[in-house]
Amino acid sequence: MSARRLLVVALAVTSACSGTSTRPGLRLNGPSAVAVFHGVTTRDATTLRAYLAVANERGDDLRLLDAVDGQAVLAPGLIMSLSVPTAPRPALLAAGSLADVGAARADLLVVAPAGLVACGVRPVITASTVFSGCIQVVGTWNAATAIAVGSPTDPVNPTPDPTIDLGTLAGGADAEVLSLAVVPVPEADGAGGWRVSPGKARVVAGLSGGRLLLADYGRAADGVAISLVGAAVHAVGFDPVSLSGSPDLVHLYAASPDPVGGVEGLAELDLSGPVAQAPALRALAAGAPTTHVLAAAVRPFVALTSDPLRDQHGPEVVRVYAALDPERCGRDEAVACGLVVLDPAAGGLAPDPAGQLPAHAPIAIPGTVRGLIAIYPPSVGGLREDGSPSSSGTPGAFQKLSTSAGFRWVSTLAAASSSTGSLYLVDLARGALAAENAMLASQTADTQARVKSVTASTPPVEGQPYLALWDDRTLPAPPLTHDLAKLPELVRMTPGYTARDTWTVEWEGFLPGLSSLKAQVQSSANQARLDWLAVQSSTVGAAGGEPYRGVGRLYDVRLGLRPGDIAVVTPADATACPRGTFELEVTGLLHPLQPGADFPGGAVAVAPRPDAQQPKVLEGDLEVPANPHCLDAAGRSDVRVTFRAGGLVLTGADFGYAGRPVGAASAVEPGFTLGWADPAPLSCQMLEAGAAWPPAPCDAPCRAECEQLLLSRKARRQFYLAEKCLATDSACVARWANLPKVDGGLVNPVGPVLAFKVGWQDDPSGGVSTVTPGRGTKLTIETFSGQVAVTRRPQVSGQATAAVLPAGLATFDRAGVTTLEADGVRVYAAYPGNLVLDLSPGQPATSDKVHR
């Protein structure tokens, strides 16, 4: 090949390469936090622009994105994005305006590393270096864009270093920054209210060791730079792990895993004083410790209107939302998991909009909440309160929420990032996850709320009856039926209470979680029978530790065991029990501390079931019953046990144990209802938060009350909804005809999770059977909640990508700058898989962007 030909080939190759080149991206490296600020950079050294700062935890720097055009701010060489080196492992970012009077000036942008560091940029570490918490200020006012270090020795224009080295502040030693916020500095407006103090901004940081930092920043003498005015660390007695400033300018809310003044929930801090003054503190009970908090101005839902796209909302109020610590909430617990809603004016949980529960039901967020941020309507593209379009500079009252059905007008939204990798949009006005679809309407047939199907199993033995439902609608002679077409109409559910689940009503069905457990049985003293059965296995005294492992708490009411239930026992020693698995009847629940007890989790007293009810085994050609007495004289024996209900049991695949329906022999007998009931008159020591084990002895009435409380908790409202059936949707209208209507629709209806009246139906006569059903005879009920939440996650070409562990969140009213409605409010979420998700709630998910 000649040199000329080589040159041609090389040029072709290089041109091909250049043809694929694009403007450099951010080159993220473990983004952990994001914040939007106004400042100057090399991209525009003279005009303030809005930028998104991204903290690169693995890169020890910040990267900047122009928040208006979505382009990375480049380094001077223009081949890479600009790196702003910080202290190692920047984890938290916060930004805010100094509310300058007159021309707008650069915002305050602060960054804090994870853990203790040698505070400074590229510090020299020696053997005597003491590490400390650190808050650095980014020089947003200088196009060089670097961590500000001041110029304290400048003879002409000395400026102090605005960095806060917590180790140098009184009370700040060993304090790690757990949370960070920039809030306005309030000042009295002279009319009994508060206004923003111009030229200042306040940094608030939650610190480990139960401390809080307050630091005021102001304009430096040159009127451009930002300098530290004063800072102080205050002991608050709890770790503030998340902070949110109130729209009322004065208050700040802090979430904490620790009790706040003895109360589990949130702290409300009054920041009206100077930084040196410890903020006044008020505890707000949330029912459990909290992990994240958001204070937002909200226009609560009032009523449905004739406009299907917009509700009637009330005047703006401040509401506080807090994610409960998943260790202390749950379906069985006193409080369900999710975002609790607090009304700071009332000093506690907001009331239940449906007027039923003691307080607003928590807004359930799938997974574990990792971040929260409010999304207010944009300046352009929204609606004012009167329904007219909002104009530039004036945020509207309503914003568009893109849904699969088009869009709806909503008030304040929130974005909650979750351990599922998704962002969930929350309709704060309705106190619920924003809905992708109409929940009731028949056109969303794949998801609409309804009893989707009910099927009756064939009896295991010919001649045994079916499980069937009474059709109470047919009076005065309601028939029993197991007709697949009719059964769904005979099961009541309530939108908002009934989750998507598969339920089973089964005769002698399995009790959830109690299958194939290692257990021990104990002979009576005279070795004439078996005394008890406990779920446990011996450690044979290993390591001086516990005598037993695998200790099941059979005495705990949450397992749902009761006398009359059946223990299906498989002995470990086949030689002692050649006929294998046998069955015992549970005759009582034994307390772990009763005299002579050797079962730390409690036990069940047992008696052999009659031979007729024992499993049958073949001995030669002869079918004989299993032998429940084979271990009677064996002392302590190892077995496997599975518990079955002694009659009917209702379970949900997700819900778990749901109670014991009773077969109705006639139409006048009551049916079964699984629903919420006021827990106030009920008490159960075993179900109290943090209850010690073993519990106090609990007799049969006590256990009945505990089960009632437990099922009531589990049957709490799942979500709120307000919706009308279309007049043309007769199936929808008919389906919910029995629920009361408000403004022509269902507004947070109240009712049971499930209700039905079961009976046994003879086959083929169809009459009421007097024969007991066979084991395993069942009805399977499938329910749909109707709820499909609006979620977003990073996508490339329609495929989710790197959607794990979303971290920091930020918002920006881009439409307010561009005046383009389509720009809307941007929501940014940092993902450690080296990307930032950029979305607008008003635009469909296909418009989402990913910045890398």
């Binding site: 935890e57 693995r58 020890d60 080196p85 190692p88 492992r89 994870a114 853990g115 203790l116 940029v121 590229r122 020299v124 570490i125 020696t126 053997a127 005597s128 270096t129 003491v130 590490f131 060993d174 790690e176 757990l178 480990s208 060791g209 770790d239 260790e327 574990t368 351990s419 979680g513 194939s516 457990l517 290692k518 779920v535 446990q536 296995s537 450690t539 044979v540 005294g541 290993a542 390591a543 001086g544 530790g545 516990e546 492992r549 695998g550 200790v551 099941g552 708490r553 397992l559 989790g601 990508t801 790197a802 959607a803 794990v804 562990l805 971290a807 993902y831 450690p832 898989g833 080296n834």
Partner: protein, 475 residues
């Protein structure tokens, strides 16, 4: 013709057989695992080097050296030129070492009371071997003599990696368990995971294969780290099958010294999958909290996190990681008696999460006298950082990459971790010393973690020069 001579010279050099080269024992060569044992007057640090580039003979290219980790000049820490104060000559083992463990009175209760000498165990993947190396009571380690230094294992087992001791305090079983990273094909069961159990009381006994399947799940592709809970006589083993994150729980049974291991009851296995709690988890290592009355037990698990969507598309593990986490799990039994392994916390750590160790129990809190949760140390090999996590305060400090030089303070590719049984500092302010094997820097770095203020954890430095104090290093 001169160029031809040069070329021939190069070819000759390249053609030198690696088998002809004996690994030197005056240095670490890709040190991966470390362990510490007490000896009169101090500690002995055992360092297993892996010969990962196979510069030396594959079958014997790995080394286990015992060195004095004390500060120079008495010990190896900070000796000029990376010189080592060795305790004994050291031993050659197979290349590609896995985990290393020392069997002594501290790790295996009662060991030595009948005159048993301490033993070092190490896995090597080059020839799928488990090595059993006798140690002197003074920490010395000499060359392996004869063929008695390896344990017989079924030849179908491949890639041994994890190694955990499981000694009952009452002496009714003294075992070591080895995990295999690659699916073994044994008796036609190609998709079943296997562990091997070694009888520590019978060096001549072959390892017993332990088939790990459960009632609810059948089959796994390999195992990574393991941990033993002596109080419940329970072994936890981390599965490595993609699109799952299974923690296998093996309820062990007693096996008296007189009984042959093969005749003793097999463990009963159950499993908990962490994947539903957090997708993309690739579990690496596990350590259990110290037992303290009044505090529930916890497990600390390191995991690399891949893109779960991409993995589902590929039906395989993507090569890139999205992040890495330390999972804090609840080890307490749930209502039905199964370890709940509920995820209590997800702590972001450096990429390439690797090994995890729990530091000694801390004194109760000064105010209130309540017990305090543990301090945990985690290595992140890819990113080159080590994280010190305080589970009491739920905060973490990272031993970072030096901002000026770009060099990781804990050394490049920090992987193996060992905690010195001796506490330093003062009784009022104890300091734990952690040794970190830096695979790609041929050294072991030394971290100091003040137990009462773990946020001040740091790489050990020379007070006079500020230089990092390390053990070994490139010569």
């Amino acid at each position: 013709m001169r160029w031809l001579a040069s070329l021939l010279l190069v070819l000759v050099a390249c053609g030198e057989s690696s088998a002809a080269r004996v690994t030197p024992t005056d240095r670490f060569i890709f040190p991966a695992s470390v362990a510490v044992t007490a000896r009169p007057g101090g500690s002995a640090l055992l360092v297993a080097s892996g010969n990962y580039d196979l510069t030396y003979d594959g079958a014997t290219g790995g080394t286990v050296l015992s060195v004095d980790p004390a500060l120079a000049p008495a010990g190896s820490a900070g000796l000029a030129g990376g010189a080592l104060r060795k305790l004994g000559e050291g031993a050659h083992v197979g290349s590609l070492v896995g985990e290393l463990a020392v069997v002594d009175a501290a790790t295996c209760p009662g060991w030595g009371t009948a005159g048993e000498a301490p033993v070092a165990l190490v896995t090597t993947r080059f020839a799928d071997q488990i090595w059993r190396l006798p140690l002197g009571l003074d920490g010395t380690l000499g060359p392996c003599q004869g063929s008695g230094c390896t344990v017989d294992v079924a030849p179908q087992f491949h890639d041994p990696f994890g190694l955990t001791l499981a000694c009952r305090a009452d002496g009714l079983r003294r075992s070591a368990f080895v995990s295999y990273m690659r699916t073994a094909s044994v008796s036609g069961s190609g998709a079943i995971g296997w562990l091997a159990e070694l009888d520590l009381d019978d060096p001549a006994a072959p390892a017993r294969p332990i088939k790990v399947d459960t009632d609810v799940f059948f089959g796994t592709a390999g195992f990574a780290g393991m941990a033993y809970d002596g109080r419940a006589d329970r072994l936890f083993a981390l599965g490595q099958r993609v699109l799952t994150a299974e923690v296998f729980i093996l309820d062990l049974a007693p096996c008296p010294p007189q009984a042959a291991l093969a005749t003793c009851p097999l463990p009963i296995v159950s499993v908990v999958d962490l994947y539903p709690a957090l997708g993309g988890l690739d579990l690496q290592a596990i350590a259990l909290s110290n037992h303290q009355d009044g505090l529930g037990r916890r497990a600390y698990v390191t995991a690399r996190v891949y893109d779960p969507t991409l993995a589902a598309l590929l039906r395989g593990r993507p090569s890139n990681d999205m992040g890495a986490v330390l999972l804090v799990l609840d080890l307490e039994e749930d209502l039905t008696g199964r370890p709940s392994l509920r995820v209590l916390r997800v702590v972001p750590i450096g990429l390439g999460a690797s090994q995890v160790r729990v530091l000694p129990v801390r004194a109760p809190a000064a105010v209130g006298g309540l017990p305090r949760r543990d301090v945990v140390v985690v290595s992140s090999a890819t990113e080159g950082v080590v994280t010190v996590y305080d589970d009491q305060e739920a905060v973490a400090r990272t031993i970072p990459i030096d901002g000026t030089t770009g060099a990781p303070e804990a050394g490049r590719s920090p992987f193996g971790l060992a905690v010195d049984p001796t506490l330093y500092g003062t009784a009022a302010a104890p300091v734990a010393r952690v040794y970190v094997a830096a695979v790609q820097q041929a050294l072991v770095s030394v971290l100091e973690v003040p137990l009462d203020s773990p946020g001040q954890a740091h790489a050990l430095r020379d007070p006079a020069t500020g230089a990092l104090v390390r053990i070994g290093g490139l010569k």
